[in-house]
């Protein structure tokens, strides 16, 4: 529980062992107030902007369109922020603002093509039904047209086979697979095709990352930043728990690893604080934007305390680093995961 108002719920990492995260364990990140209620009969989705013929669809019309499913690991850009040093402002997430679910609904592409995309189209902006207090800038962001036209970018109505929950954007949300969570808009009601990126707080200065890493704690000039897109390479240890006392000869070290638009090719485990590393076994479940489960059978020789580390490598050659890149908003924290345990042999 990071906040009730606005609702920000984190999943304990010990629960992140399944390939598909159950909806009622799936993290929730709200920037604003969730809509008080949604009238599914009255709900409309408008598609406008740089299109030949603007469209308005009812929920019934949307659900009649051809469905496509994508299993996607959704992670908040600020996941792990509390571990940044020096500390940065924002929701102080531990490591559990992440989950993997199967999202279904029409491809955004099919909706955009129905409306007819003009040559001037460069970005696609999403507006949700969340309500904004005071003079807070609305949570409005856009994604480049190339990503919007990827068949796997969805206007999802279902999550793990059931209609979306209110917490996760009922009745429809976008899913921009492999990208930071903020690129996917909940309680979707309006899609606007733009001839340039959307403006506003949540495009700039929000959700931007330094072009080159600077010194921790030093400010970064806005012109030396870029908008966040795909997630980075990362693994986490779901078992054993940090601080656990372990009894017996053999222990399963387990967890998940993901890399946004790339594939996980390797997860390594160290049980001596990083002096030596051994490959974990990757799980059988596999999908383009989904995390991989991994496990490692560990037979400690003697009793004592141990530091267990995990690090992932992806198909782009990126390796999870010992220290994450510090940045003023604490995005994309991806240092080795670490748990300390005491073993009784």
């Amino acid at each position: 529980m990071r906040s009730y108002r606005f609702l920000d719920l984190e999943t304990p990492v010990e629960m992140l062992t399944d390939w598909i995260t159950p909806v009622n364990h799936f993290f929730v990140r709200n920037h604003m107030f969730a809509p008080a209620r949604i009238d599914a009969q009255a709900w409309k989705l408008t598609i406008k902007g740089e299109v030949e013929k603007p469209l308005t669809l009812s929920l019934a019309e949307l659900t009649r369109m051809e469905n496509h499913s994508v299993t996607n690991t959704l992670e908040c850009a600020g996941n792990g922020r509390s571990l940044q040093n020096p500390k940065v402002p924002g929701v102080q997430w531990g490591l559990g603002a992440v989950g993997n679910a199967r999202f279904s609904g029409p491809s955004l592409k099919s909706l955009l093509e129905k409306a007819g995309i003009k040559d001037t189209a460069k970005h696609v902006q999403f507006v949700g039904l969340d309500s904004v207090p005071g003079k807070v800038p609305p949570f409005v962001r856009s994604i480049p047209i190339e990503k919007a036209l990827d068949r796997d970018t969805l206007v999802a109505t279902h999550m793990n086979g059931a209609p979306l929950s209110m917490y996760h954007g009922y009745p429809a949300r976008t899913i921009t697979p492999g990208w930071v969570g903020s690129a996917s808009c909940k309680w979707l009601t309006e899609i606007t095709v733009l001839d340039k990126p959307a403006e506003g707080n949540f495009m700039n200065p929000g959700y931007r990352f330094p072009d080159t890493p600077g010194k921790p704690g030093e400010p970064v000039k806005p012109e030396n930043t870029h908008s966040l897109t795909a997630l980075t390479v990362k693994s986490l240890i779901a078992a054993p728990s940090h601080g656990a006392e372990l009894h017996g000869d053999t222990h399963a070290i387990r967890g998940v690893a993901w890399a946004g638009e790339a594939d996980i090719v390797k997860v390594e485990i160290s049980t001596d604080g990083g002096s030596s590393w051994r490959d974990a076994q990757l799980g059988r479940n596999h999908a383009k934007y989904a995390w991989r489960q991994w496990s490692y059978r560990w037979k400690p020789i003697r009793s004592g305390s141990y530091v267990i580390l995990s690090r992932a490598t992806d198909s782009q050659g990126r390796v999870q680093p010992e220290l994450a890149v510090w940045n003023p908003s604490g995005y994309l924290y991806n240092a080795y995961d670490e748990v300390r345990v005491y073993v009784h042999t």
Partner: protein, 120 residues
């Protein structure tokens, strides 16, 4: 008639009881859900200016220096927090004193981060 009066009284007792119970639930859930702000000059102003839009927990989990708190307070004023010009510095001082980087990490109840911190 007699039974009707009894019914009325019974209903009154039940409805008063319901109100008391409901009030107790509201008070209990407020106190158990929402983090209190620490005492000090600026507490009342912080409650008035901040808590109409978000709960205190989002404040008490931060660990920021004075420069960062100044940025946050000014951002929130720009975003509609009603802060009298005379109170801005009081608020910045209050937050900087209570939620500075040298304070121990905020323990969000029932989270792994809290347990990790404790286990160290």
């Amino acid at each position: 008639m007699y039974t009707l009066r009894l019914d009325f009284r019974a209903r009154a007792i039940v409805s008063v009881g319901t109100v008391v119970l409901f009030a107790a639930i509201v008070v209990f859930s407020q106190s158990s859900r929402e983090e209190p702000l620490p005492a000090g000059a600026g507490k009342d102003k912080a409650e008035d200016a901040c808590l109409s839009c978000h709960e205190a927990r989002i404040i008490v989990q931060q660990r920021l220096n004075k420069a960062a708190w100044t940025k946050e307070v000014d951002k929130m004023i720009k975003w509609g927090a009603e802060v009298d010009a005379r109170d801005r510095d009081t608020l910045i001082d209050y937050f900087s004193a209570n939620f500075s980087p040298d304070k121990p990490a905020f323990e969000a109840p029932r989270t792994v981060a809290a347990r990790k911190e404790k286990a160290k």
